[in-house]
Structure formats: structure tokens, C-alpha cells
């Protein structure tokens, strides 16, 4: 693992909101092609950590580099074009657009033709739109939601909206995919299905993935390595089996055993 190329490197990241230290001196490094988990109790700072990588938050201290380039103080749009894509914990699809339009969006977030062509509606723009639609359809098919492509996205069932978010994130052609609780609110069968799906996506698109998840089975099944956050601090880091047997992790999740008097 150590000889493969480093993708994401976060060192000594600190994020403070006023007096509250949401992320405290956290260092994380991910190599290309790895599947890394980020777990921790509620309020541990996991999503805040993601938000700082994607540029939604500016870190108070510390550095974040992706493939050797700094991400600090870059806008989310720039970071997206560097190959980092994400899904959101609270689903953020475009509810009034169709499913297909949702997935088309990252493909034309920087329009592929100029504005005058758009005004005149030249045939070249129609061709370009068609090409993008076809490409988007391929992502929908991959996620198994191609049959819903003309539906309004907001009317989809919850699980399908989650899938749509993943499809949309993939359409941005990422090399690093950040998944924020993709299995939230899913039952065991759906979780297993999701595990298979994520595993195949990771393999087929040659992605580096970082996953936040509360379903511990999903994380243990998928991840090569796991980072554990607690109250903003990095508790530990290791392989799934190391994490499972780590007393500190058990303490953070389940609390300390009361000492017998």
C-alpha cells in the first residue's frame, strides 16, 4: 500500500466555529484506489471534515492536498473539476428537475458550447445536448434507475433518490468519491445491495472512495482502512479487524463499563 500513489492528504486539519472545535488536528491520508471509511458517533465532525475537503468550509488551520495540489481556499466548483465528487447526508438532488436532467447537470456544469450558440439554438448545441443525455443515461443504467429517467426527481422513493445522488456524483467524472451516509435509513437487504453496488462502482470506475457510514456492517464489509473520529479528534486508524477490537473505539461507541464499587 505504501508504494502506491497518494491521493488525498489532510494534515493537522482544525475547524472551529467560534468556540466550538468541530475538527481538531486531524490528519488523514488516502492512496489512490483505496476504499477508506470514516466512522464516529453523532457530532464527531465527519460531515464537517467532508465539507472542508469539498470547499464548503474553509479550515481554520491545516492543509489539504489532492494529488499534490492544495484544496484550501478553492471554491467547491473548482474542487469538483479537480475530480472530487460527493453525495450529501441530507439528500440534495434537484427536486423539480427530471432524473435525467439531474445526472446531466455535472456533465454540462461548464457548458460545452458558447452562449451565442445557446441563444440561437444551433444544431450543434442539440447534438451536444443529445450526447450528454446519452452519457447520463449510461450512469442511470449503471445504478439501475434508468426506467425512472423522465420522473421528477423529488417524486422518487427515498432509496432511489440516494441512488440518483450517487449517479449524479459519478457523472462528474470523479477520481475521489466522498459518500456521506449512503445507507442511511436502509434496511439490511438494501444495505447488502448497496455494498455490492459500491464495491462494483469502486472497481469499475477506478475510484478512490471515502465513506461515512453509521451502518457498521457496511463499513467493515467495504473498507480497506477505517478512520475513527470522536468529538472532533482522530481516535484511531486501522484495518476493519483492528478497529473492531480496539478498546478505545468500543468505549467511544458504547461508553465505558461502569467500575464495580
Amino acid at each position: 500500500m505504501s508504494n502506491s500513489k497518494e491521493a488525498l492528504n489532510v494534515s493537522n486539519l482544525t475547524i472551529r466555529f467560534g468556540g466550538l472545535c468541530a475538527v481538531d488536528n486531524v490528519s488523514v491520508h488516502i492512496d489512490e484506489g483505496e476504499f477508506v471509511g470514516l466512522i464516529g458517533p453523532n457530532g464527531a465532525g465527519k460531515t464537517t471534515f467532508f465539507n472542508s475537503i469539498t470547499g464548503n468550509l474553509v479550515p481554520t488551520e491545516g492543509t489539504i492536498t489532492y494529488k499534490g495540489k492544495s484544496l484550501v481556499k478553492k471554491g467547491p466548483d473548482q474542487i469538483s473539476h479537480m475530480g472530487i465528487s460527493r453525495t450529501f447526508q441530507n439528500i440534495r438532488i434537484f427536486p423539480k428537475m427530471t432524473v435525467l436532467e439531474n445526472v446531466c447537470l455535472p456533465l454540462h456544469s461548464q457548458p460545452t458550447y458558447n452562449i451565442f450558440a445557446a441563444f440561437l439554438g444551433l444544431p450543434s448545441t442539440k447534438r451536444e445536448d443529445k450526447r450528454i443525455k446519452e452519457e447520463a443515461t449510461s450512469f442511470l443504467e449503471r445504478l439501475g434507475i434508468a426506467e425512472y429517467q423522465e420522473y421528477q426527481a423529488g417524486t422518487l422513493a427515498y432509496g432511489l433518490q440516494r441512488r440518483l445522488e450517487i449517479a449524479r456524483a459519478l457523472a462528474a467524472h470523479p477520481t475521489l468519491l466522498l459518500l456521506d451516509e449512503p445507507a442511511a435509513g436502509m434496511n439490511n437487504d438494501e444495505c447488502n445491495e448497496l455494498v455490492e453496488l459500491l464495491r462494483s462502482i469502486h472497481r469499475d470506475y477506478h475510484l478512490t472512495v471515502m465513506l461515512i457510514e453509521h451502518h457498521i456492517d457496511v463499513v467493515l464489509n467495504l473498507c480497506d482502512r477505517i478512520y475513527v473520529l470522536n468529538l472532533g479528534k482522530l481516535l484511531t486508524e486501522g484495518t476493519p479487524s483492528e478497529i473492531q477490537s480496539n478498546p478505545e473505539v468500543i468505549r467511544a461507541y458504547l461508553g465505558e463499563r461502569r467500575k464495580k464499587a
Binding site: 447537470l105 458550447y113 445536448d129
Partner: protein
Amino acid sequence: MYIISIIVTACTNIISVIGLALLTGYTGMFSLGHAGFMCIGAYTAVLLNKYLMVPYVLALILGGCGATLVSLIIGYPTLRNKLRGDYFAICMLGFGTIVRLILNNMNNPVTNGALGLTNIPKLTTLWSTLLFTAALVFFMWNFVHSQYGKNCVAIQQQEVAAEMMGVRIVRTKLLSFAISAFYCGVAGGQLAFWLQYISPATFSDTRSNDFLATLVTGGTNSITGPFLAAAILTSMLEYLRSLVNWRLVVYGLLYILIMRFRPEGIMGYKEFSLKKTIKFFKELPQNWPGYMEKFKEKLTGRRKRS
């Protein structure tokens, strides 16, 4: 002549409202000051024509460009600092008022202060108006259905996700703002060359509010909706002239009814299509009980439990 006058006024309103539709409907930024852009467009076009002998069509376009330029000057600082929602609307309200007050108080022979510009040649004709309106509506239709338009809608629906998917928020918003300003500028020029007289009071805040009200009536995420609304409301204003001041009461009532029974506007998120309209009227007899049921539900605010 009277009919032509109504048509020209309606077309002017259509152009401005459709310009506003891109900004407010598609991009989701409310503006209460677009009459200010109309004002700038009108003054620019008329003065260019008067002093530099710029031909009519070019004067209108340059008037639109003038409005665009001003929109960029005001838009860049406001949008870059993420002014949105009500804050942006109030900023625009201030802008509309400022434009009017500055012109009101500029007592020079060129702009002529509060007295306004008189003796403007009547260059706007029915056909030029229809042509301009058709062209501008056609361009806007293409634009909102292009990649640029979709990016605007994405910003309106879910700004955080749009930005994360790579949409350049400030640039896209500024673009939509500039285009809407251009449309209002052209409409202003057209109106000036038709009325033959403009003063700062021609472009009062009431006009901005009317645009917004017309847009909401027509349906925000639609081009045909605001088009129909602008056409209907403008001509209705003329038909109801016999009611004198009461026509504004009729207006208010109409807005209340629309807010109560169809908050998404006449067309809502859809576009007008002749086929669907014919189908609607063909199936009206058998669907009628269903519509009445829905109407009753809305009237009483209660839903029948089934």
C-alpha cells in the same frame, strides 16, 4: 390605433417579464427594481438616437447593452458576496429607486431632470415590435433549454449541490442577471420610441412590482406562462379602463385568487402546448366532477378522507 397601442404595450411587457423570468423564475433571485434597467435602456436608446443619430434598431440594442453594463456593475459586488433571497430583492428595490432619483435630480439640458425627454420620434411600429418580441422570446426559449438554462435551474433548486457539481455560481447568476437586464433595457427603448415621451416617473417602482406580479401569475419556471400572463393582464388593464380606479381592485383580487388556487401560476413548471390544451378541453366533460372536487377541497382547505 388603439388596438395597436395595446399590442405594443403588451409586447413591451412580455419582453421585460420574460427577461425577469430568467432571473427570478429560473435562477431564483427576486428583483424589485427591473424598471430601473428599463429606464436606463430607454434613456440610452433615446439619447443615442437624438444626439448621435444612431438608427432605431441599433439604439434599442445599445440601450439593452447599457442596461447590461449597469447590471454587471451592481451585480458583481452583490452576487459575489452571496447576497440572495430577500436581501437581493431589497438591493434591487434600492437600485430601481436610485436610478429614478438620480435622473430626477440631474437638471441638465440632456436628460432634462424630472421633466423627462420629449419630442421622441415615433420609431416603434407594430411590426418592429412584433418582430423584436418574437426574436427575443425565441432566443430566451433556446437559452433556458440550453446547458446554461439548466445550470440556472440547478442553482435555483439546490445551490450547494449545484456548486459541488461544478457550476460556477457567481458567474452563472451574473450571466442570468445581465441577460434579464438586457431584455428590460430593450423593452424600455421600445416603449420610449412608442410613447414619444419619457420621464423618470414612467419607470416607477410600481412597474417593477407589476413585472414580478405578472411573472408569478404566469408561472415562474416557464416561458409561455409569463408570456400569456403579460399579454392577458396588459390587455385586461385596458378593457377594464371603464372601471377607473376599481380595475386595480380587480387586479388585486385576481392575484389573491391565483395565490389561493394556483400558487404555481397559470402554467407552473410546464410550457403551454396546443395539443395538451385541446386534449384538456376534449376531456373536460368527463373530468369535470374531479376538478370540482379539487376546487371544493381548496375552497374549504379540507381533504376528503377516503
